[in-house]
């Protein structure tokens, strides 16, 4: 439906643009995949549309820069000169280079500009700022030192300026426990277990490389509440971690036993089938005896965290108390849920990474579903509740990406998501819902520049990011890496000046 609408709309909009006295002015908050795919489709669909992309960081690209693991292999196809990450970055850079598009880095929704400011200045505001917080486990000891969310750890090794000082202690222990078995959990486990020489030629942050070089961690446990049939990781990522050189992988054969309900799940799910097959193969083939000093990866199934145990000092974590679980069918959804059995065991460790899901952060004036951690919406149109608790559409306000769908999917998932939101915007535009009631056009980019000037706020244009990019790549070349990331706010802004 969206495709047809866009197609027909492309024909109409050409005529429409010449009729309307002013172009459609769109502001997108967030410059990760959600933001950029939305900008790309918006610019393509409407000849006259003007799109401004804001980001609170001086650097664009969101999780493409700060989330994708640095050790992910180069493209397997030798005829392509670039990694797929660079392909995506190039694509987004082309969008930013469009004369109808402007990037505004170092602009924070909330402190630099408010949501109501933006709604006054733009015909349509699209929120694409993702999920920058974490789901909380809510178990005792969660605030002990040495316990981090996977997001913090990932931002730390990817050089995100908010996490450059996290300094996880990787020298106090030989064991790390990762709670969760999704792709992010696999990422962090892999970074902890990769031979250091394989990390040296990546764009991993320098401070992380130094820490990892001195790390004494040799064992990583990936702990899941349910079984291998329910593991959230996907085949590609599981295959990758199972293929690490000199890594002893431990999977209990007993955990591979399937119930009738498990068999049903496997029948219906291609992804689950292929993941389960990989687990089965790994359980049988990795049987050789431990080589002294060999690193170990343990997949623990049917365990949920009951509490975190403090060390003697009382400040840091020394272990996790796990409760054994079994699966019960949740009648309504048909899904199997993990239920505690009252049997406990303690797992000693000095580092815990919680990888149980990201969560979006609410913003003043924006409707928010606390339970799901997303903005309520219908095909990208933001919904709020009126006095009588009826859902109404917030005119001119849209949402895309993780903030809309929850923190799931791959980068390309945002492509379809953006298509849906853009289709909603175009439909509303066609129906006259985005024309300002006052009659005079909204100020758009000029309005934003005025607001920023009034506040003496210093924004970073795309050319500013290009200076950062050039500096990082030059420094990287000296060290046989694709780039050496600049990891503090001060240095990033300094590079923009230089």
């Amino acid at each position: 439906m969206g495709q047809l609408l866009l197609h027909g709309w492309k024909l109409i909009s050409r005529g429409f643009s010449s009729l309307t006295p002013h172009p459609l002015r769109v502001c997108i908050v967030g410059s990760g995949p959600a933001g950029f795919y939305t900008a790309e489709k918006m610019l393509k669909a409407l000849d006259g549309a003007e799109v401004d992309i804001l980001d609170r960081l001086p650097t664009p690209f969101g999780l493409v820069r700060s989330g994708v693991a640095p050790d992910h292999p180069e493209t397997k196809l030798s005829h392509l000169p670039e990694t797929w990450k660079q392909i995506v970055v190039n694509q987004f850079s082309r969008v930013a280079a469009n004369e109808r598009c402007s990037f505004f880095g170092n602009v924070n929704l909330g402190t630099t500009v408010s949501l109501s400011d933006l709604c006054k200045m733009y015909d349509a505001v699209v929120l694409a700022y993702g999920a920058e917080s974490d789901r909380y486990l809510g178990v005792p000891g969660e605030d002990l030192g040495g316990i981090y969310s996977a997001r913090e750890f990932v931002w730390w090794y990817n050089g995100h300026p908010d996490c450059s000082n996290v300094s996880p202690d990787l020298k106090n222990t030989d064991t790390a426990v990762v709670l969760g078995q999704g792709n992010v959990a696999l990422d962090v486990a892999r970074i902890l277990l990769r031979p250091i020489n394989e990390l040296e030629t990546t764009d991993i942050a320098e401070h992380a490389l130094t820490s990892l070089r001195e790390s004494t961690i040799r064992k990583v446990y990936l702990v899941g509440r349910r079984g291998p049939v329910q593991a959230a990781c996907t085949a590609k990522e599981l295959r990758e971690i199972l293929g690490i050189k000199d890594l002893h992988v431990c999977i209990q054969k007993a955990d591979l036993l399937t119930s009738a309900a498990d068999e049903e799940e496997l029948k219906k799910g291609r992804i689950q089938r292929r993941v389960y097959e990989l687990f089965s193969k790994a359980a049988t083939s990795h049987q050789q005896h431990d080589i002294v000093g060999q690193r170990e990866l343990h997949f623990m199934f049917f365990r949920k965290p009951d509490r975190f145990l403090p060390s003697e000092s009382g400040n840091t974590v020394s272990g996790v108390r796990l409760e054994k679980t079994c699966l019960k069918e949740n009648g309504a959804s048909g899904k199997q849920v993990a239920v505690g059995t009252g049997q406990f065991e303690d797992l000693k460790c000095g580092l815990v990474l919680k990888s149980v899901g990201y969560k979006s952060v609410p913003v003043d004036g924006l409707p928010f579903d606390e339970y799901r951690g997303v903005v309520p919406n219908m095909k990208g149109r933001v919904l709020s509740l009126d006095q009588a608790e009826h859902a109404i559409v917030e005119k001119g306000l849209y949402v895309t990406g993780w903030l809309k769908r929850g923190p799931t999917g791959i980068i390309a998932t945002n492509l379809y998501c953006a298509e849906e939101t853009v289709a909603s915007i175009l439909e509303d535009f066609k129906n006259g819902l985005l024309t300002p009631s006052s009659g005079s056009p909204k100020p758009g980019r000029q309005g934003l520049l005025q607001v920023l000037e009034n506040k003496n706020a210093r924004f970073v244009p795309f050319s500013g990011w290009e200076k950062i990019d050039t500096k990082e790549r030059m420094e990287g070349e000296l060290r046989n890496k694709p780039r050496k990331k600049i990891t503090t706010w001060e240095e990033l802004l300094l590079a923009v000046d230089g």
């Binding site: 493209t75 085949a235 579903d369």
Partner: protein, 151 residues
């Protein structure tokens, strides 16, 4: 180059009536280096194109303005160029997908028994006449269970 319905018929008429002879010879030798592929979009609209040997279906689609996404530009890092081979006979003529392709197909929307990634299907003589459908389903992105009351 995409020919509209009319010019397709016109060209065929000219060829068959023998009026354009020298050109017909050129075209038939050209045809040996190209195969005919039909793309069918989710509304059932068909587009017949010529694909030179060795070109992927993704590239061919882009050269002919067919709306097939290729977010990772053929580097096996996404599933947006997902196509459905409409005839089992042609599907079986393709080499089995590698693990890497299967990993990406796992994530494709509307996956079928004869689904492949367009960037991995390369034109060869045996595929002449192949029909490829663009998937109809895109994921439903509505927030689970949230149904706004009509106002």
């Amino acid at each position: 180059m995409v020919l509209s319905r009319f010019s397709q018929l016109g060209a065929r008429f000219l060829k068959e009536s023998g009026i354009v002879t020298g050109k017909a010879q050129e075209e038939s030798s050209e045809q040996k280096e190209k195969i005919t592929v039909t793309f069918v979009d989710k509304d059932g609209e068909e587009k017949v194109i010529q694909v030179p040997m060795g070109m992927s279906m993704l590239e061919a689609a882009h050269e002919n303005d067919i709306e097939l996404e290729g977010a990772c530009e053929g580097s096996l890092a996404c599933s947006t160029c997902h196509v459905i081979v409409m005839d089992m006979e042609y599907y079986n003529k393709l080499e089995d997908p590698a693990d890497e392709e299967n990993d990406m197909l796992d994530l494709a929307f509307g996956l079928t028994e004869t689904s492949r990634l367009g960037c991995q299907v390369i034109a060869k003589p045996e595929l002449d006449g192949m029909r490829l459908a663009l998937p109809a389903a895109t994921r439903n992105f509505a927030v689970d269970g949230f149904v706004p009351k009509p106002h």
